[in-house]
């Protein structure tokens, strides 16, 4: 018995050590390019009303249309034909749908292969990426820059200039292109999706308590926050307190903040007091009206409210359809509508794809990006998971510009297009997540005066990152 135990222990040691002999880690990627003083960025104008027109740009349309299957100039990458473009792309993502989406490029570029790695969330992604960059280990060739982290990517200096690889920024919806440029104006990311907002409401509840489920009529009923509150009270009263207008007050943080187009800091100086006291006061007003169900955003109960019929509507973004409403309310097709959120158009969410500047597969990444910006690439994206593409030319296409069955035949694309033309755009900055998390947390209780709450939010941000000051 003694012998056996000793043998087992020694054997296990040996086996586990031998296991390592098969490894051949050969990654020689250079170390981090993140500059130490990255936080001291020169930020651009805090707010930009992107009133530029989203006209179906001629350049974009032409390029995309010409790129519809044949090997032509559009698909050439640094002088290589699609067949000549090779490489093995390391791609990390928190959503396996992206793997399927990315792989579609093989229809044009058959000799590009992939190594896919699932990471649980955008936060884990950043942690893993920073460890990889600082240790010089395998860094993904395609960088997934989620909007909450996009501001950090502007400063990190790890993204290649995409224009040098023939990626044409003029193909994009203007506000998305603008967000894809870093603080020096270098074009570092193509958008995965446009993310215009909307008020997603249940048609059955609308009919029962408001007498109509028509999106235009609903929009007219809630043209400003006061009428939004009145409508909420009406539903609550008519339902005997059973149905709330919205799931929770913190759900309003993203829309309300983005609608202002204002920033939470100017350099290192916090501007929450200055810029967001009104937003907090408005949230308090809505809370005092008692029209919310008291559900904190992203919690299981919040998710459940989409199917339970105890909440009328939820302000969100176009990706809510596939990522929030459908998974939570699988039987709900046809029972949802999209109205306009009071207070103006906004962008909520989005991912930008960048190219790691030390990548050894730049041609392959550039090829993929070219594919993504074609009509076919954009349609694949929409067919797969209803991403509204960032390519402006495709919004004329029938597959996109048509009644949406999930929304009871409403043509939501028209609304999204209008929003993309007129929305207020809030350009991301480093540490955005700190602000949004803090704002969301305090929006759950809203105790104190708006000034006191704004002060607490600033204190909270400073406790997480002491370089900021009031």
């Amino acid at each position: 018995m003694k012998k056996r135990l000793a043998m087992i222990l020694a054997g296990a040691c040996l086996v586990s050590l031998l296991g390592g002999c098969g490894g051949n880690g050969t990654s020689e990627n250079a170390g981090s390019q993140e500059s130490a003083g990255a936080q001291q960025e020169e930020e651009k104008q805090p707010q930009e009303a992107a009133a530029e027109e989203t006209e179906a740009g001629e350049t974009g349309k032409d390029a995309a249309e010409s790129a519809s299957g044949e090997t032509d100039d559009y698909y050439m990458v640094n002088g290589k034909t699609p067949e000549e473009v090779t490489g093995n792309i390391l791609f990390w993502s928190w959503d396996p749908n992206f793997f399927e989406m990315v792989e579609k490029m093989n229809t044009i570029y058959p000799n590009v292969t992939f190594d896919f790695v699932t990471v649980a969330s955008a936060d884990d992604y950043m942690q893993k990426l920073q460890a990889a960059l600082t240790s010089g280990s395998d860094v993904p060739d395609i960088l997934a820059m989620e909007i909450n982290n996009l501001g950090r990517f502007y400063d990190m200096g790890i993204c290649d200039d995409l224009e040098t690889h023939g990626i044409d920024p003029s193909l994009l919806v203007p506000y998305l292109e603008e967000m894809g440029r870093d603080n020096n104006g270098t074009f570092i990311g193509i958008p995965n999706t446009a993310a215009p907002g909307g008020l997603y409401y249940r048609r059955d509840i609308a009919k029962e308590y408001l007498g109509t489920d028509d999106p235009d009529e609903i929009t007219a009923m809630i043209k400003d926050w006061d009428s939004f509150i009145e409508t909420g009270k009406k539903i609550k009263e008519a339902s005997g307190g059973e149905v709330s207008m919205i799931p929770g007050i913190d759900t309003l943080v993203q829309p309300l903040v983005n609608q202002t187009g204002l920033r939470w800091r100017d350099g290192n100086k916090l501007t929450v007091q200055e810029n967001f006291t009104d937003v907090i006061a408005l949230m308090q007003k809505i809370k005092d009206a008692d029209i919310d169900a008291g559900l904190d955003v992203w919690t299981p109960a919040w998710n459940a409210s989409f199917a339970q019929g105890n909440v009328f509507c939820c302000p969100g973004s176009c990706w809510f359809q596939s990522y929030v409403i459908e998974p939570n309310d699988p039987e709900g097709a046809g029972n949802w509508g999209v109205a306009e959120v009071p207070g103006g158009y906004y962008n909520w969410g989005g991912i930008w794809w960048g190219m790691y500047n030390q990548s050894e597969n730049k041609d392959a990444v550039a090829a993929w990006m070219k594919y993504e910006l074609t009509v076919e690439g954009a349609q694949n994206k929409y067919d797969l998971i209803h991403f509204y593409p960032g390519v402006k030319a495709v919004y004329e296409d029938d597959y996109l510009n048509k009644p949406n069955e999930f929304y009871g035949g409403q043509n939501v694309t028209e609304l999204y297009l209008k929003e993309m033309d007129e929305m207020t755009v809030l350009r991301p900055i480093a540490d955005d997540a700190l602000f949004y998390n803090s704002m969301t947390f305090f929006a759950q209780s809203l105790e104190g005066t708006p000034e006191e709450i704004a002060d607490k939010i600033e204190e909270d941000i400073i406790s997480s990152n002491p370089q900021y000051e009031k």
């Binding site: 003694k2 012998k3 880690g25 990471v119 649980a120 240790s135 395998d138 459940a304 998974p327």
Partner: protein, 276 residues
């Protein structure tokens, strides 16, 4: 007679208390197994005390997520890492407890001091080290750190100090046994309870480890259970039913091991408590 009745009452109350505590402890497990058969909608609707109809869907989801491969990976990593922790912990503990050498106290304190430094602090350096050693594409980064586990050294030192008398070493030497022989043939069998306890602690630690595999593992074929569980569902809506089925399936082997070795484990914990 009165006294008998009073004792019975007290016993009954204690039993009732034990039943209540046991029920409170068991309910989360029971709910986990029930919720593993349900879909999100049923769970969210609060019908968690009923058997759901989604067991096969959830099972399909975890199979598609390569759960069973990750199970084998976790098993390999945890067993190897536990064996190393116990073996090297016992060796170091034996040295500290039974040998006198220069600066012994200082070295022991240094080992204990490393417990104060969270693993996260040295994470980047560790990732770099693994890359330089060309080990980052193997399981070794998840296994090797446990060879130098301060807690296991401390645990074993304390246990061996009390449980293994110096006279046994002398008698071993008189009979011609080498020092390694004394450790392997005499010390290890005597400290079996401590080995079982340490094994279960380090196995669980390795089995549940999330951060290190998340940072180190880039090959989905080498994913461990916590990585696979965390990635079931989308970023905004977790597939709770499938996740709970994966958790339940991951807990079962640990429960089986615990049931088989429960006597030794509790013995080890108790003796550690008395002799410490």
């Amino acid at each position: 007679m009165m006294k008998m009745n009073k004792t019975k009452w007290i016993d009954g109350l204690i039993n009732l208390l034990i039943i209540v505590i046991a029920t409170v402890s068991i309910i989360p497990f029971l709910l986990m197994f029930l919720m593993a058969t349900q879909d999100n909608q049923t769970i969210f609707a609060g019908r968690i005390l009923t058997l759901g109809h989604s067991l096969s869907t959830n099972f399909k989801t975890i199979v598609e997520a390569e759960y069973f491969r990750s199970f084998l990976n976790s098993l390999f990593v945890s067993i190897s890492s536990t064996a190393l922790t116990v073996f090297f912990g016992a060796m170091a503990g034996f040295g500290f407890a039974k040998y006198d050498f220069k600066h012994k106290k200082l070295i022991f304190q240094l080992v204990i001091l490393t417990m104060l430094v969270p693993m996260e602090v040295g994470l980047v350096a560790f990732v770099w080290e693994m890359r330089v050693l060309h080990l980052s594409k193997t399981f070794l980064p998840l296994i090797l750190p446990n060879m130098a586990n301060a807690f296991s050294v401390f645990w074993m030192t304390q246990y061996i100090k009390d449980a293994f008398p110096y006279e046994l070493i002398e008698s071993g030497r008189i009979d011609g046994c080498t020092d390694m022989g004394i450790f392997l043939r005499m010390a290890l069998p005597i400290i079996k309870p401590a080995i079982f306890t340490l094994s279960i602690i380090s196995f669980l630690q390795s089995w549940n480890n999330y951060l290190l595999p998340m940072i180190m593992i880039n090959d989905p074929k080498k994913f461990t259970i916590p990585l696979v569980i965390a990635s079931i569902g989308n970023m905004f809506v977790a597939d709770y039913g499938a996740r709970l089925l994966a958790v339940a399936a991951g807990i079962l082997p640990i429960m089986i091991v615990f049931i088989i070795f429960s006597k030794q484990i509790t013995e080890g914990l108790a003796s550690g408590a008395v002799k410490g």
